[in-house]
């Protein structure tokens, strides 16, 4: 017994000291061990290198474009991050982006509804679709992969039926603000929307019991359920969040081009999921955070824009993005392997 208390007191003494008197050097070292921080510096480095090669890259005009692109991708990535945190996935992001844009355009142009009502109706539809995904996943114990794969096809098909494959054009100017507008003539509105969503998501995950329960559900669903966590409700919430975010992205993109385009968002799920994975969200569930997702989205957005600015043949863009993803996940797996060998 005496021996035990001794161990405890010396151990706690050991850990309390460094927490209080950590030198700057140690802080830097510790944060460099976090892959997302390293990724963040890679993004900065890319911007600097891009700026040296082509000075216009860092100009205000281009920055407006880059931040808007990144913001839009980040919204979708934050959304899809939630089902991934529970150990599931949402493959319907791209089609839902398309659906969101077309529905809101249809409401305004074909049903002649006011802008605010169209937006609310579209969001309600998103809510219903997300709930539908969540119910299949929890009540039928279906993997999210399957039910959202169905929606991937279903939503795209529904878009085609609704539009006859023709874009819905000429959206009202006040609606277009959410995609084209600027706050104080400088900050793109989508960036503002993204920041609001990111802060909400961060707060939810980091500080509320719901967020904690989402992580617990993703890490060990049995232990969470047996501890009295309403696992089903948390999972459903995550799927709703994903669809709502994708729908918001759809509306922003429609507003940006002033078109409800039937092909909008095609393949967008891959970029959104890639941003999550780059940002350190584990596909096994239970691990990842909003900061990581934002950095992941920033990396993809920056690389895409850099390729445009450096006049790289657009046919190569997909290859480059995929290679970036490959390098990042390979490094991450190598790091995890090293950690598990040492343990």
């Amino acid at each position: 017994m005496e021996k035990n208390t001794n161990i405890r007191s010396t151990e706690s003494a050991k850990t309390f000291q460094p927490e209080e008197s950590e030198t700057l050097r140690q802080t830097i070292r510790r944060s460099l061990a976090v892959p997302q921080v390293v990724l963040f510096f890679i993004v900065i480095a890319l911007l600097v290198i891009g700026g040296i090669i082509n000075p216009r890259f860092l100009g205000v005009d281009n920055m407006k474009i880059v931040t808007r692109d990144i913001a839009i991708l980040a919204i979708a990535a934050i959304g899809v991050g939630f089902p991934i945190l529970t150990g599931g996935i949402d493959l319907s992001v791209g089609s839902v982006v398309g659906l969101g844009g077309v529905i809101v355009a249809y409401c305004m142009m074909n049903l002649l509804l006011p802008v605010w009502l169209s937006i609310i109706l579209t969001l309600i539809l998103a809510l219903i679709l997300g709930t539908f995904h969540g119910l299949f996943v929890t009540k039928l114990k279906m993997h999210g992969f399957l039910i959202t794969l169905v929606t991937l096809g279903l939503a795209r098909g529904f878009i085609l039926v609704l539009t006859n494959a023709f874009p819905i054009t000429g959206l009202p100017r006040e609606f277009n603000t959410i995609g084209q507008g600027y706050v104080a003539n400088l900050i793109p509105v989508p960036l503002v929307i993204c920041v609001v969503i990111a802060m909400l998501a961060y707060y939810l995950l980091r500080f509320t019991y719901i967020g904690r329960q989402i992580y617990a559900t993703g890490s060990n669903v049995d232990a969470a359920r047996l501890s009295g966590v309403n696992v089903d409700a948390r999972i459903i919430l995550c799927y709703i969040f994903s669809v709502v975010c994708a729908t918001i992205v759809g509306m922003i993109q429609a507003a940006r081009l002033s078109i409800g385009h039937p092909a909008a968002g095609e393949g967008y799920e891959l970029l959104a999921i890639a941003a999550c994975i780059l940002g350190g969200v584990s596909l096994m569930g239970g691990q990842g955070n909003i900061f990581g997702i934002l950095v992941g989205a920033a990396l993809i957005g920056t690389v895409q824009n850099a390729m445009v600015m450096l006049n790289i043949n657009p046919y190569w863009h997909k290859i480059v993005i995929s290679l970036v993803l490959l390098v990042a996940i390979t490094l991450d797996y190598a790091r995890r392997r090293r950690e598990s060998m040492n343990r």
């Binding site: 035990n4 151990e11 904690r212 992580y215 617990a216 060990n220 049995d222 969470a224 047996l226």
Partner: protein, 507 residues
Amino acid sequence: MDIQPLLKMEKVSKNFPGVQALEQVDFEIYPGEILGLVGENGAGKSTLIKIISGVYAKNHGHIHFRGQSVDFRSPYESQAHGIATIYQELALIPHLSVCENVFLNREPRKMFGAVDFRKMRQQTEAILADLGVHISGHRLVKDLTIASQQMVEIAKAVSRNAYLVLMDEPTSSLSSKEVDALFNLMRRLKEKGVSVVFVSHRLEEVLRVVDRIIVMRDGHRVGTLSRTDANESKMIQMMVGREVGLFPKTEVPIGEPILELRNISGSNGVRDVNLKVHKGEIVGLAGLIGAGRTELARLICGADRRSEGVILIDGEEVQIKNPADAVRNGIGWVPEDRKHHGLVLDMDIKENTTLAILRRISNRFGTVSLRSEREIATHYRETLSIVTSGLSKAVKYLSGGNQQKVVLAKWLSTKPKILIVDEPTRGIDIGAKAEFHALMSKLAGEGLAILMISSEMPEIMGMSDRVVVMCQGRVTGEFKRGQLSQVEIMTSATKFLNLEADSTMPI
């Protein structure tokens, strides 16, 4: 001794970041010897086993096996040299059948390379029958109980015809009948000249079967005992460097009934169970593996669906449809399989401690009060003496005993009236075990009603105020403290047992 050792380790060291797991350890095992390896958790037994089997690489030292210097880089290499290992954590593939697991990667073949399933099944069942268990080779591993899975793991290892079999805590989830069968098998291996390293926390078992004992403590080999000079207290003293008292249940006044079960049945095999647990009482639930004890616990906790019967708490009927209802009604459950059902391994100590009370420590916007969380976790770290460098440490890095205390902390923080503990000291070292028993005794003294499921007879006999015995889903006996006899408990536990039947629950 003139005989050359089968395996010899010289001054082997292994360090993990921040921990010296093994320091200059010498180790030897002779042909045809059963060697007991004992020590508290964290003493370095598992690390030693994993270095021999090639899971970990040693940092220093030499290993000789059958006269050759070896350095296994992977478990595959050690297997190829004739070393079979049964790890503490089961390494079976849940979605494959029993026989596919046993013969994984060396399936008997027919013409054109097709797997000879008939032969595979026959051989598997023969090996299992040798071990005294009757499990169909076609059943999927995921449908078996942990004990049966353990027997499959053992069958897999012994079927490899190895020179050396390493067993890291193979008995921790076995019933005494299964343990006997395993020991007979170990003796037969010995007769064939095979050497066995047997790691166990159950010292009385070690004494029954081994020829020689190596005791480890804090990464060192602290002593060697031959079976003739070994006894339990000597081993414990060497292991912990101090005397420990086991099973100290103190007499406390028994109050009114807190939990009452009336005619509980469920689709998981529990049939018509009536049971009362009173305030301050520890009721031991004894029985063989698969008698339906864990299943009964699952019904009480709302983890499985109850088909019949009512549950009363404080004399009033309560509706328990899911685990959340059980938590609300003051039922806590420390499960048998703490890694899968008790803990979120990637989360830290404070997060695990408050997992069941998150809502209670959140404000109306749902924000968790990190301050109360820290206070609650600190409180239980002190009262349960959880040994850790900090509350932000992920529970996967804690020893088994400390992990179990975190699970206990989680349930105590809900202020439960009833605590169900399922194999509470399984896989926990001696020191922590005694601490845990003292703790349960203290909790009962504070008025908690405790239902304790245990397969360890000394634990049942020492801790229980009353023992209820189950067999095949039914209650088959009940004994008060003072009239407890091991023979009668075993008789009740095997009352309906048909020896031909599968040793697992018929579902």
